[in-house]
């Protein structure tokens, strides 16, 4: 029987942020993830934006934690060697009658503590955002917006949490949560969790299960909210267009979303989207022709030179919406059970602040948080050949020849980087893609897939017929000649 002080359910950006933060303290912590790899749920379809804090409901957790998170994320990304870039955001108005709305957004944002806001005019826009449509009449400029790779952040958080003693279990879907009452001298609630046929005992449970947060909450006997999946289709443009924009571009927000954006990503490729469509199926990840049309026309309104021919990839994500705000609270009905649900935008931005908030809730619920004597706060930056100057690459290659062995040519990923990703926990092609960008370029794996499969097969000791795209059931090939 595995026994812990805290078990976190869900290894997305919220779960791993909480795990890493808690790993500062003398606690036994486990992180349970139902998929084969971390960040395979909501976090992988994230836009990668660190929001400045505008457009959040008044007096909301979203507002408070977003502004806090914007600052904290910078510190964490530095500590963990994940690239963070402050690029700034523009919320753009095209019509005179929209100007009061823009001013209102600014005013509300000021109350939340968003720094350095200013309204800018066409002359500023022309100088700083030359490809922006000439029909834009004004914009709210929020310089503190930034970009980060959402899954590389998750992996960095997880690796740091592991280093600091957190135990991570993948392919462990939680199927039962029983409150088994106080136990012995240790006052405090006790839970028994069933996952993948194994029993786990813990004093506290943190439910960060994304799309399934309502189901997990109900397992613990708390049925106070429902997760409404809201679909978002996003379209990725060729890296050649990296300098199409200098800032993140937002239109004025709609009722249920920030609108269709022109996004700079940490990988260099611009991205357009997302749509916002409520749907019933938590597994519906299909893109559509209608989605493409909608995104393209909205994006072209801001940047007229974007064409369909620029699109090299697309994906769909489902936002786990639970009303207007985050649901982060200790549930009186199930003492020791803390819900961290409805973590949609600005969830990525707020994650670091959510972690601190949850630590606070744990303290108030009676958990003693004593700092460890040794906490490894820093991790070395993962090496990506595509983001370092060639001269530095030369030195790396001399020391380690496998850095010169290029596997993915579109994104310039070497065999060493692939092997490092596998050593860091990648077990699937998608896992390698999210960590290294191999297969994410313009040829979409046509060139490198074979080699990556072979490296993975050799490293984890599985036959090629068992190598998967994203876990069991997604095997890449069905038969091997000569090895029937």
């Amino acid at each position: 029987m595995h026994q812990y002080d805290v078990i976190i359910i869900g290894a997305g950006v919220a779960g791993t942020s909480i795990a890493r933060e808690l790993s500062r303290y003398k606690l036994n912590i486990a992180l349970l993830e139902k998929e084969e790899e971390l960040a395979f749920g909501v976090s992988k379809s994230n836009s990668g934006i660190i929001h400045p804090g505008t457009q959040n409901p008044r007096n909301s957790l979203k507002g408070k934690l977003c502004v806090q998170g914007n600052l904290l994320t910078r510190k964490i990304s530095r500590e963990l060697g994940v690239d963070f870039k402050e690029v700034g955001a523009l919320i753009i108005a095209f019509k005179e009658e929209d100007l009061p709305r823009l001013a209102q957004i600014k005013a509300e944002a000021l109350v939340c503590g968003v720094p350095r806001l200013q309204i800018v005019r066409p002359s500023w826009l022309k100088a700083h955002e030359p490809n922006l449509s000439g029909e834009a009449i004004a914009a709210l400029y929020a310089p503190s917006a930034g970009i980060i790779s959402p899954y590389r952040l998750v992996y960095a958080l997880a690796e740091n949490a592991l280093k600091n003693g957190v135990e991570i279990y993948t392919q462990h879907k939680v199927t039962q949560i029983l409150a088994v009452g106080k136990a012995g001298l240790n006052a405090g609630p006790f839970f028994e969790i069933n996952a993948a046929g194994q029993k786990f005992r813990t004093r506290y449970v943190i439910n960060a299960a994304g799309l399934d947060a309502d189901l997990v909450s109900r397992l613990a006997g708390v049925d106070s909210f429902r997760i409404q999946p809201r679909k978002g289709e996003e379209f990725i443009l060729d890296k050649k267009k990296e300098h199409l924009t200098n800032h993140l571009l937002f239109p004025l927000p709609s009722k249920n979303s920030k609108g269709i954006l022109v996004i700079k990503t940490a990988d260099g490729n611009p991205m357009i989207g997302p749509t916002a469509q409520d749907c019933d199926d938590k597994e519906d990840l299909a893109t559509s022709d209608a989605g493409l049309k909608e995104v393209l026309s909205s994006a072209q309104r801001m940047i007229p030179s974007i064409s369909e021919a620029d699109i090299i990839a697309y994906f769909t994500g489902l936002r786990p919406v639970a009303g207007d705000d985050f649901i982060i609270r200790h549930e009186e009905k199930a003492p020791g059970f803390i819900n961290v649900a409805g973590i949609q935008s600005p969830g990525l931005t707020a994650a670091a602040a959510i972690a601190l908030f949850v630590c606070d809730i744990l303290r108030k619920s009676g958990l003693s948080l004593k700092k460890k004597n040794i906490f490894h706060s820093h991790d070395k930056k993962t090496i990506h050949l595509f983001s370092i100057p060639l001269l530095r690459s030369a030195k790396l290659i001399k020391k380690d020849p496998a850095f010169g062995d290029i596997v993915c040519r579109c994104e310039m990923v070497s065999a060493r980087e692939i092997q490092n990703a596998i050593a860091g926990g990648a077990k699937t092609l998608d896992g390698i893609k999210f960590r290294t960008r191999a297969q994410a370029g313009r040829c979409h794996g046509s060139f490198c897939t074979t080699r990556i499969m072979k490296i993975l097969s050799a490293s984890i000791g599985k036959p090629l017929t068992q190598i998967t795209k994203k876990g069991s059931g997604s095997e890449m090939v069905q038969e091997e000649r000569g090895n029937a």
Partner: protein, 324 residues
């Protein structure tokens, strides 16, 4: 920094023919860079016949055709070969940077021939809606998996696109024991050679659907089925025409794109629509001394023509270097 008279990027049929030709016309200092561990390029995975009918007056498979050139190059000490060499940077004054295991090397070339071939258009570029499960392959990747690795991608296949690569792969899958349930083609007729229609489709009675396209791919982990619709002459979906085909593999064979990102990096003028270099004269580009041959110059149907085109590029390079 290394200095070479002529650097050729790409050791497939185009690059090899260009190297041999340039040498024949007097260039004695040639470096041939190839990213794979063998010469031969795409021919290594084209195990079917149909090559060399014109150039050698013989019926050859891809590897056999390639070997004719490989043998000649290996005998020639004036053509230096560097395998597993991947070019990462190219400047307009012909400074090439390439990586290979253990080495980053910069080379200043007096003349440069690019023979980098093509990549395939992906499913994303033609926006086939639906999910992104395992089981969606470009035809070339499927060909590599089967012919180089002996791996069978799937057992129930739907092929999108009736160009030669799609047709060849239809036959390949059938020979390996898979069922090819349909070839879906948006145009009114096949885009491939008639002889391939006979030997790949008619021979195995594979259902062809012209003026059709795939509307959606289904399946979360692995492909489960596709929905297919009929289109009119404006390529718009005809309502009510949808039907579904159960399958575990979708092969996408919808066109080739010349790989010219390197010369684009160097500032060579590229036609935005075709990704081919803008050119007044065969094989020349907007930068004197930088030549392009083979499929990266323009997409050819037959490798025999590629060989002849590349020989011209080799000669042009020799003229440019004042060797001819």
């Amino acid at each position: 920094m290394l200095k070479k008279d002529l650097v050729i990027v790409g050791g497939g049929p185009a690059g090899m023919a260009a190297a041999i030709s340039a040498n024949k016309f007097g260039v004695k200092d040639i470096l041939l860079l190839e990213r794979d561990q063998y010469l031969g390029g795409i021919l290594n995975q084209c195990v079917h016949t149909g090559f060399g009918l014109d150039y050698f007056k013989e019926v050859l498979t891809g590897p056999e055709y390639a070997q004719r050139f490989i043998s000649e190059i290996r005998r020639n000490p004036e053509i230096e070969i560097s395998l597993r060499s991947f070019v990462v940077d190219l400047t307009q004054d012909k400074v090439i940077t390439f990586l290979k295991p253990g080495l980053l090397q910069r080379v200043k070339a007096k003349a440069l021939i690019m023979a980098t071939g093509c990549r395939e258009k992906t499913r994303e570029m033609v926006h086939i809606a639906g999910t992104r499960p395992a089981g969606v392959f470009s035809a070339g990747l499927a060909q590599k998996l089967i012919n180089i690795e002996g791996l069978l991608p799937g057992k129930k296949v739907v092929i999108v696109g009736s160009g030669d690569i799609g047709l060849i792969m239809a036959r390949r899958f059938v020979l390996e024991g898979s069922e090819v349930k349909a070839v879906i083609e948006i145009q009114k007729t096949s885009r491939g050679l008639l002889r391939n229609m006979v030997q790949c489709i008619d021979d195995f009675r594979i259902p062809m659907f012209y003026r059709h396209k795939i509307a959606k791919i289904y399946g979360n982990k692995r492909v489960e089925k596709v929905s297919v619709v009929k289109v009119d002459d404006d390529l718009q979906t005809i309502p009510g025409s949808e039907f579904q085909i159960e399958c575990d593999t979708v092969l996408v064979s919808v066109g080739l794109i010349p790989e010219n990102e390197l010369i684009e990096m160097a500032g060579v003028q590229i036609d935005k629509k075709t990704n081919c270099p803008v050119s007044e004269e065969l094989n020349k580009t907007s930068i004197p001394g930088i030549f392009v041959c083979g499929n990266s110059f323009k997409v050819y149907d037959i490798v025999d023509v590629v060989s002849r085109d590349s020989e011209i590029a080799g000669e042009l390079a020799a003229v440019y270097l004042n060797k001819r």
